[in-house]
Amino acid sequence: MSIISDLLRLATGDKEAERSVPPTGFTATLTLFTAAAMAFLAVFALALSLATDRLATRWSEELARTSTLRISAPDDQKAAQTAAALRVLETTAGIASARALTAEEQRALLEPWFGPDLPVETLPIPQLIEIIEDSNGYDATGLRARLQAEVPGAVLDDHTRWREPLISAANRLRTLGLLSIALIGGSMAAMITLAARAALAANVQVIRVMRLVGAQDQYIASAFVRRFTLRSLNGAVAGSVLGAAAVMLLPDTELAGGFLTGVALRGTDWFWAATIPVFAALVGFAATRAAALRTLKEKS
């Protein structure tokens, strides 16, 4: 209940309590700077975490339902083997659709490596067939056996070999991002605790006088808690705005290669970025309150 009453007092404001304690210069600057720096870093960690989350989702959801059939055959047999492969695929359970890529589509795939004027028709490039699975999926082992018998030049790639390690790496990056946010929060709490304890130590006489006139610990603590919470909030707002601006200025990797989703804030990401100052204020509140009550107990 006392924490709730402290939060209510914080929300409604208790300037009289805050005014009882003289402002202390270096702890104010330290708290503001720490909150701003930590919020700045938290925005980056959040953007990284959300980007890797998107990457993992994309690789696990989009690519999981697609496979590629590659037909490497002499030019005069390529069309026949493609038609045979499509027939096999049409009669395979678990495949929603299968289609051979056009020459334009194959050229577009190779364009990032060979440029826009590649004469695909004159090169010995295998024919690619895109396979989309239905919700049940297909039996890859059975399909490979049938293709081996009916279309000897066909190689089935269900993307598992390279997709799984990438998903695993993306998930680990996401976890590291979240861990970084937690570490940033912990570091911020430690710094604010130090600043609060310094402020309390600098105001021993003020605390003594307040006690002599009948102030209870909650009241004395609230004077420090309100001040440090507001400093944490203000610093974190500044740090978050700067962090978000820096993330926005990062180059758009989507345009460059289409492989990474890019470290950026999109859509609902902005909501999470906006919660950083709120979390910073909560960290400031909890750290200062704990430090103040502990120090007041020690000094009793």
Binding site: R19, L212, Q216, Y219
Partner: protein
């Protein structure tokens, strides 16, 4: 109201006083005298819960001081107005804010608006309300300390050498205010080594004079 029963206090390995008993009943007026270093201030601190007795019992408004937590002590202090020897002001607050501080910390800051002006006028500091403590003279500080001590309308007023740093005329004014408070029913305990102040008080009010000497508390004789 405040009761010390067979109290001892040890400080720095030595016993400051022992087997000390005192009962402050409602409406009484006590003087505590004795040589410097005899333990007058320590005894007062026991009376408002700033120190805990090494042995014996201290009861504040019926509660055993030893078992009271910090919040309970804080609540008890709201019923005891203390005038400290060095006033104990917060130098960054104005005189008015310092005097109102007990109301503020008790969550009764709104009462200050209506009570403060007559109170400051009563102690003769109506014009100095916006000044900071370092800007006040010794006498003004002592009267401001008295105003702060009574702003909560406490049942007990404890003053530690309230006239230590002021001239005789100002001492008389301060004494008059304390006697006036006693006539209003407040219990008063003053520690002082100023025997003239005690003699002056005895002409105005029934007082009990206690002498702390050699670690023992005695009732002073008629020579005072």
């Amino acid at each position: 109201m405040i009761e010390l029963d067979n109290v001892s206090y040890t400080y720095g390995g030595g016993e400051l006083f022992s087997a000390l008993s005192l009962k402050l009943s409602a409406g009484s007026f006590h003087f505590l005298t004795g040589p410097s270093g005899s333990g007058k201030t320590t005894m007062l601190k026991l009376c408002y819960g700033e120190l805990i007795a090494t042995a014996g019992g201290v009861r504040l408004f019926g509660q055993d001081a030893r078992t009271m937590d910090r919040d309970q002590v804080a609540l008890a202090r709201r019923r005891i107005g203390v005038v400290h020897q060095d006033c104990q002001f917060l130098d960054h607050l104005t005189l008015a804010e310092n005097v109102a501080l007990p109301l503020t910390v008790a969550g009764r800051g709104a009462e200050a608006a209506e009570n403060l002006e007559p109170l400051l006028s009563w102690v003769g500091l109506g014009r100095q309300s916006m000044q900071l403590p370092p800007q006040l003279s010794g006498g003004e500080r002592q009267r401001a300390a008295l105003a702060r001590a009574v702003v909560m309308s406490p049942e007990v007023i404890i003053a530690d050498e309230p006239t230590g740093n002021i001239d005789w005329e100002m001492s008389q004014k301060l004494l008059h205010l304390l006697v006036e408070l006693n006539r209003m029913g407040k219990t008063v305990l003053i520690a002082t080594h100023d025997l003239n102040l005690i003699r002056a008080a005895k002409t105005q009010v029934a007082t009990r004079v206690l002498r702390l000497k050699g670690g023992k508390l005695q009732v002073a004789g008629a020579d005072l």
